[in-house]
């Protein structure tokens, strides 16, 4: 049995990891509080309204999480330009011939569970995002844009700060608050589905490939076959040490 040599590659930079977990935290809080805002539970309480404010706090957490998500989105957009090659914006628009081939291969290999005639680690195991994942993050980016516009649109009427006020035109543009509330709500479901599939596929890849898929978002490292690393070139070696 031939065993492989692996090298540790620094794939996810610190800012990217911070973005990931801040985003994960804010989205989790937004989904939980958002669902509660849409469907408040019936609390049987004898306390007076003057001594309670739980629903107000639920909304406050929702708004604070929204600001966090909005802020780290800018951090990530900045790193889409200055970050390493795995963070670059070009990764997220794989719509050239190579990217489309990659998308099709990933769908065949990981979704339809078909195997290549001869195992091909270069196509099957990805150092950064695989092309399908990259497309899903692009979709998620647009979902976040929808959430920001509809969310701040609903928030604007009560806001005093200029930033949310800039979205005051949104409700009217989409035919009223009821419509953007609905768009906001259905996009929340898209986020829920995204989270479920995303977490499952991380586990799936880690389980199958064992390259440190799930820990990479904490440590920043993934493990890649030595063959993938260009030994001759010092610069490259330093980059993936």
């Amino acid at each position: 049995m031939k065993t492989r040599d692996y090298k540790r590659a620094y794939v996810w930079q610190l800012a990217v990891r911070i973005f990931h977990w801040a985003n994960a935290l804010s989205i989790t809080l937004l989904i939980i509080t958002g669902y509660l805002i849409a469907h408040p539970p019936a609390i049987r309480s004898t306390a007076e309204a003057s001594t309670q404010f739980w629903f107000g706090y639920i909304r406050e957490i929702h708004f604070m999480s929204a600001y966090l998500m909005f802020a780290v989105l800018f951090l990530r957009l900045y790193y889409a330009i200055v970050g390493n090659k795995y963070a670059n914006w070009k990764v997220f628009v794989p719509f050239n011939k190579k990217g489309l081939t990659g998308i099709w291969h990933t769908i065949k290999h990981d979704v339809l569970l078909l195997n290549d005639k001869e195992y091909n680690y270069k196509d099957s195991v990805h150092v950064g995002h695989n092309n399908v994942a990259a497309v899903s993050y692009l979709a998620m980016f647009f979902m976040a844009i929808i959430m920001i516009f509809t969310g701040f649109g609903m928030y604007a009427a009560n806001a005093t700060w200029f930033l949310p006020k800039m979205f005051a035109w949104v409700p009217e543009f989409f035919g009223g608050d009821m419509n953007i509330r609905w768009i906001h709500h259905i996009t929340m479901w898209a986020f829920i589905l995204f989270v479920v599939v995303h977490v499952y596929l991380v586990f799936y890849h880690d389980w199958l490939e064992g390259h440190g898929e799930s820990s990479s978002m904490i440590s920043g490292y993934k493990f890649v076959r030595t063959e993938r690393v260009a030994e001759a070139n010092d610069n490259t070696e330093n980059a993936v040490k």
Partner: protein
């Protein structure tokens, strides 16, 4: 001050005096309407001065596809001077429901006003205009509504679109909109238009807008939907006296439960207050007596766009498209279930399909584990 040979040229103040009010009543009215308009107290002098010196504004009030609830609301405006003066003056020109003249006489009076005050009069429109079948669904005096509107709008200084009919089409524009009912600002695009939505709008709001136009000789500040900001910038929810119950998470679950008796928030029984912009919570109705939420019923959202198509009045879930009643949560749960099932199937099948690949890695790993020297 202009000598009033022609009664049409008398000022609002002169008209007040002629009808038996004294100056004190007049000033009370100014303070009252100024407060509703949300102007600073220092501007009250300007309102009083304008109403006392300027000849009244000629107003033509057209009625198209509507139920006259806007006019009803207007004449029930809180302060008697609103009805006595403004409405009385308006009726002198043209308003189908309340004017004394009728038939050819009335049409002639309207024509005279339009000719004499070309470019000066205010056109108030109550009701939407049907564009379907050449506009034949609404005809007055043998002419179609669209024809009449275009004629009276041509010489108007500004247009006030009263009510949800004139601003968004209201019930007759609800799906499938058989008559092609169309709001005014989609037909007339070359005139300043004030949209005053509501079914009906609050009487004090209507009076306040007319007084604003008269007193300051310009339109009130409007928002993106053409609504006066002083009355439509806040949601019913945000000025609701039941709002503390919302923040405390105390809700009416059913209209006949204990919470309803206690006057808790109506959010869960379909109140549209959180998505509706109006002044109901502040000004209220019928002289500040009450408003729907105070009477125990959720807001219908009557001043919101397309409120007839926005789902049930008793549920906040909006039914979208083709009468399919399944709401977004049902859809979300079904898709989530499907995805979860798919994931389960994927997890099982990948154990079969990727067995070879997995075994190879596991065996290589076990081999390495055996060779590890501590």
């Amino acid at each position: 001050m202009e000598q009033q040979e022609n009664k049409n040229n008398e000022t609002y103040y002169e008209s007040v005096v002629r009808q038996g009010y004294d100056r004190r009543d007049f000033l009370k009215f100014v303070a009252f309407i100024g407060a509703y308009m949300g102007v600073e107290s220092t501007s009250l002098g300007q309102i009083a001065k304008t109403l006392a010196t300027k000849p009244r504004l000629p107003v033509i009030w057209e009625h198209f596809q509507e139920c006259t609830c806007c006019s009803e609301s207007f004449i029930r405006s809180d302060h008697p001077i609103v009805a006595d003066i403004i409405l009385d003056k308006i009726s002198l020109d043209y308003t189908l429901t309340l004017m004394a003249a009728s038939g050819h006489q009335a049409e002639a009076a309207k024509k005279a006003t339009m000719d004499k005050y070309k470019g000066e009069y205010i056109l108030c429109v109550e009701g939407s205009v049907p564009l379907g079948d050449d506009g034949n669904y609404c005809c007055i005096g043998g002419r179609s509504a669209i024809d009449i509107l275009k004629e009276s709008a041509a010489g108007a200084k500004a247009i006030i679109a009263w009510g949800s009919c004139a601003t968004t089409g209201c019930v007759q524009a609800a799906k499938p909109n058989p008559t092609g009912a169309t709001p005014i600002d989609q037909i007339i695009t070359d005139k300043p238009i004030i949209n005053v939505p509501g079914c009906p709008p609050i009487g004090e709001v209507m009076a306040g807008i007319i007084v604003h136009v008269v007193a300051f000789d310009r339109l009130p500040e409007l928002d993106g939907a053409g609504r006066p900001k002083s009355f439509y910038s806040k949601r019913v929810h945000d000025s609701c006296y039941r709002r503390p119950y919302f923040d405390a998470g105390l809700f009416v679950e059913n209209f006949d439960d204990e919470n309803a008796k206690k006057g808790y928030c109506l959010y869960k029984v379909g109140c549209k207050g959180p998505t509706t912009y109006n002044a109901c919570g502040n000004i209220k109705w019928n002289g500040g007596v009450s408003y729907p939420i105070q009477s125990g019923h959720g807001c219908l959202g009557c001043s919101a766009k397309n409120f007839w198509d926005a789902g049930s009045f008793y549920s906040r879930e909006q039914a979208m498209g083709g009468g399919v009643e399944s709401d977004s949560d049902t859809l979300g749960k079904v898709v989530l279930g499907a995805v979860a099932t798919g994931i389960g199937a994927h997890a099982v099948l990948s154990n079969v399909s990727k067995r070879k690949e997995l075994t190879r890695r596991i065996e290589a790993g076990q081999e390495n584990e055996q060779k590890i020297k501590e």
